[in-house]
Amino acid sequence: MKRFIKLSVLFLLTAAVPYVLLMWLLGDMGWVRTARTEMASRGFLNTRIKDIANYHDVDVLFLGSSHCYRTFDTRFYRSHGISCFNLGSSNQTPVQTRVLLNAYLDSLSPRYVVFEVHPDIMDQDGIESAVDLLINMPLTCEATRMAWKSGNMKAINTWLYAIYNQKICHRLEHFTEDSIMDDAAYIPGGYVEIRKKSFEVKRYPRKDLTIQPEQMAALKDCLSMLKERGIPYMLVEVQDAEQLRSSFKNHDWFEAQMRALGPYRYKILPMDDRVHFCNSNHLYLPGIKLFNEDFITDLKAALNTIEQDR
């Protein structure tokens, strides 16, 4: 028995070394790629994280998934005298938002936070977003914890590769992402403008909305973090195209869950799926304009309230 345990432990330790080396060696080799190794992506997280250094004490911080960075046009708010930064990233779930807030909330020091929430995002495991963060942001304890806590090998492998990428090759600091990729352009301040519409008429099967418990817990953690710092916030759900929206069987339930966490805004504006939407769950330029013009009233009111409280 002792021999069995001793050799098993010895084997695991011995196997760990070639595992890590192979992960580094094969990490970025085309078909044999073992983890998320490419830093550049249409979500521009790499550029966005580097852009954070240019922003301090902003009026508003936008957080959330692609619905966030593709909707809240920072240029529009700036033109209305509101300084802001959009820290959204692709498929970002509250688990990743927590990591980002831990790393950047104090340096951005916002007066107000707009937290974009979406039913589909709240039901995800967040692995796609986790690997996006791991490869694109300087590794932190919180990011490491996120990778290991996910229990997902893709996240753990990406974390291993990120060590090599950042600590040994120093690629992250030397890498510069193109600010235009295909139809997507990064706008300083975190917004991404998509200039091509890819709307398809589809029939979505009716479905019950659910929320992953770990996402709800992470969302509560994020909100507690804001409350501790005395930063007021608003949960915002950006509307989907009618064809997707009508497939949600129990959106009322989702709304109730969000409302229980604080101020929550979900407003359906009169929009045409084919005109105002880029695809089923992302607004297109006319839709973005409509949305922001409507939203700024609420945002200004919220900022005024903060001013009056002071």
């Binding site: 028995m1 021999r3 069995f4 050799l7 098993s8 084997f11 011995t14 196997a15 070639p18 595992y19 192979l22 992960m23 094969l26 085309g30 078909w31 044999v32 790629r33 073992t34 983890a35 692995i127 229990g151 997902n152 090998m153 893709k154 753990i156 492998n157 992953q212």
Partner: protein, 497 residues
């Protein structure tokens, strides 16, 4: 649950069941292993611990269904004791206790697994499909078909006198609930497993290492081969109309590989895991896709279920030692029941009927036992004839798996029609070159290793002499699992049966 909502089924189980390929099991197993061997001098305590660990393993999903297993176990235990205590003079009482137990167990199985299906079928036929007031919508307890059959075999064996009834309730509970094989087999017989719980086990280094090795191979088959195939297969089967015939054929072939990797992978993990506890389980798969005809395929596929049906249904019905008309009937019954065992859907029944049709000519011509040896024994490669036979058998299996995988018989038919009518409309669509590479390499590794080990006790048995070479091989497999698994948790297909 609708038959083919694999993705929903997966999501349902991902956060609830302690799967072999989960972090929870990775923590659970070493703890149970350590405590189990610390108790090796106290058989009763060790068995009690096996029962507790097994109930914890199962109760992780839903503790309420523990009552069901406990009830099934108690019924079979009492039935066995009563059958034996009434003695051979009271044949009626013996039959009463046997059939009482069979009926109770089948009733439970029937209510949980088949009631809604038959109610819906009845409503479709006579009530215009309005079955809402008839349906119970019960959750199907995981592994119910497996442990029910295992419990039933005990009382039948006691009735037949092939085993003496046990007086050790703990050992019997351990026999029915032993966690490695509780939820997806192999379906053990009391004659082989129960005595192992009635006597002290000794830790054997070689057996434990062999168990670890078999588990590693099972994880590779499940997490790399089966799960990689599943991504492609699910995509195609979800929208078969969107793809050409070559893609549909490729998806059917990959599902054939997926279901083998998934289920035989589970069996390897279960058997290997049991070896760590000094328990020997029966082999469940013996390289079925290297079969030269369908009869050989059925001797090598899900062996524990096939032999269960053979011993407890087919042979009591007269088997093949009856007139030809009766042989046809017996064969049809056995395959249809086997199909229905897999799930409450007509596609499974049709799958059983399809295999019966392939099997019947062989049995009627007396050729069903033609290939009892291992293919190409003593040779490295098969002959052209053997290769042709294996490919034909594989193709026949592929066509059967389309029925098994489709949501309905109509969908399976449409799938086949679309597949053959557009077979030459271009090359198959691949999700990505990386996925194609992973699937190709993984399937190639599996095929070569299993071919080399086709005459061994299990498919990862033969190993190099030098330790460093063995460890290099294990490390390579671990790397492939860690680097190329699809996600860390994808439930096993056979859990739903």
């Amino acid at each position: 649950m609708p038959k083919r909502c694999y993705s929903n089924f997966f999501l349902y189980f991902c956060n609830r069941f302690m799967l072999f390929n989960s972090i929870e099991f990775l923590i659970f197993l070493p703890i149970v292993f350590s405590v189990y061997w610390l108790l090796h001098k106290h058989l009763r305590w060790q068995n009690a611990f096996v029962v507790a660990a097994s109930y914890l393993f199962y109760g992780w999903w839903d503790w309420r269904f523990l009552l069901l297993i406990a009830f099934t176990t108690l019924c079979s235990y009492i039935s066995g004791r009563q059958i034996a205590s009434t003695g051979s003079n009271s044949a009626t009482s013996r039959k009463l206790f046997l059939w009482g137990n069979i009926i109770i167990n089948l009733l439970i199985l029937g209510v949980f697994k088949y009631y809604d299906f038959f109610a819906q079928s009845f409503a479709d036929a006579f009530l215009g499909g309005h079955a809402d007031h008839l349906l119970l919508h019960l959750v199907l307890p995981v592994g119910i078909s497996f442990y029910t059959f295992q419990a039933l075999s005990y009382s039948i064996d006691v009735y037949r006198g092939t085993i003496k009834p046990t007086h050790d309730l703990l050992a019997f509970f351990a026999y029915v609930s032993f966690f490695p094989q509780l939820v997806a087999g192999p379906i053990e017989r009391a004659t082989s497993l129960l005595p192992q719980f009635e006597q002290a086990r000794r830790f054997d280094y070689r057996t434990a290492v062999d168990g670890m090795r078999q588990m590693l191979w099972g994880f590779f088959k499940k997490m790399v081969v089966a799960d990689s195939c599943a991504v492609y297969v699910d995509n195609i089967f979800e929208h078969p109309d969107w793809f050409n015939g070559a893609s549909l054929l490729l998806a059917a072939v990959l599902f054939t590989i997926q279901i083998y990797g998934d289920f035989s992978g589970y069996s390897d993990i279960a058997i290997g895991c049991a070896k760590l506890f000094g328990i020997s389980l029966r082999r469940n798969f013996n390289v079925p896709y290297f079969s030269r005809d369908i009869a050989e395929f059925w001797r090598r596929w899900h062996i524990s279920l096939t032999t269960w049906f053979r011993d407890y249904i087919y042979i009591p019905m007269g088997g093949s030692r009856v007139p030809k008309g009766r042989i046809v009937l017996n064969t049809l019954v056995i395959f249809l029941v086997s199909g229905l065992w897999h799930g409450a859907n007509w596609t499974y029944v049709a799958w059983g009927a399809y295999h019966a049709l392939l099997f019947l000519p062989l049995i009627l011509l007396g050729k069903n036992r033609k290939y009892r040896d291992v293919v190409s024994a003593g040779r490295s490669l098969p002959s052209w004839r053997e290769l042709g036979q294996m490919l034909l058998t594989f193709f026949l299996a592929v066509m059967g798996w389309i029925l098994f995988r489709a949501d309905s018989i109509a969908e399976a038919w449409q799938y086949c029609v679309h597949m053959f009518s557009t077979l030459f409309d271009g090359a198959p669509t691949l999700t990505s070159s990386k996925d194609a590479w992973i699937i190709s390499v993984a399937v190639a590794v599996m095929t070569v290793v299993e071919w080399v080990n086709r005459d061994c006790p299990h498919e990862f048995f033969r190993q190099p002499r030098h330790r460093w070479m063995r460890w290099a091989g294990y490390t390579a497999l671990l790397f492939m699992i860690g680097a190329y698994m699809v996600t860390n948790e994808m439930p096993f297909i056979y859990f739903q049966f």
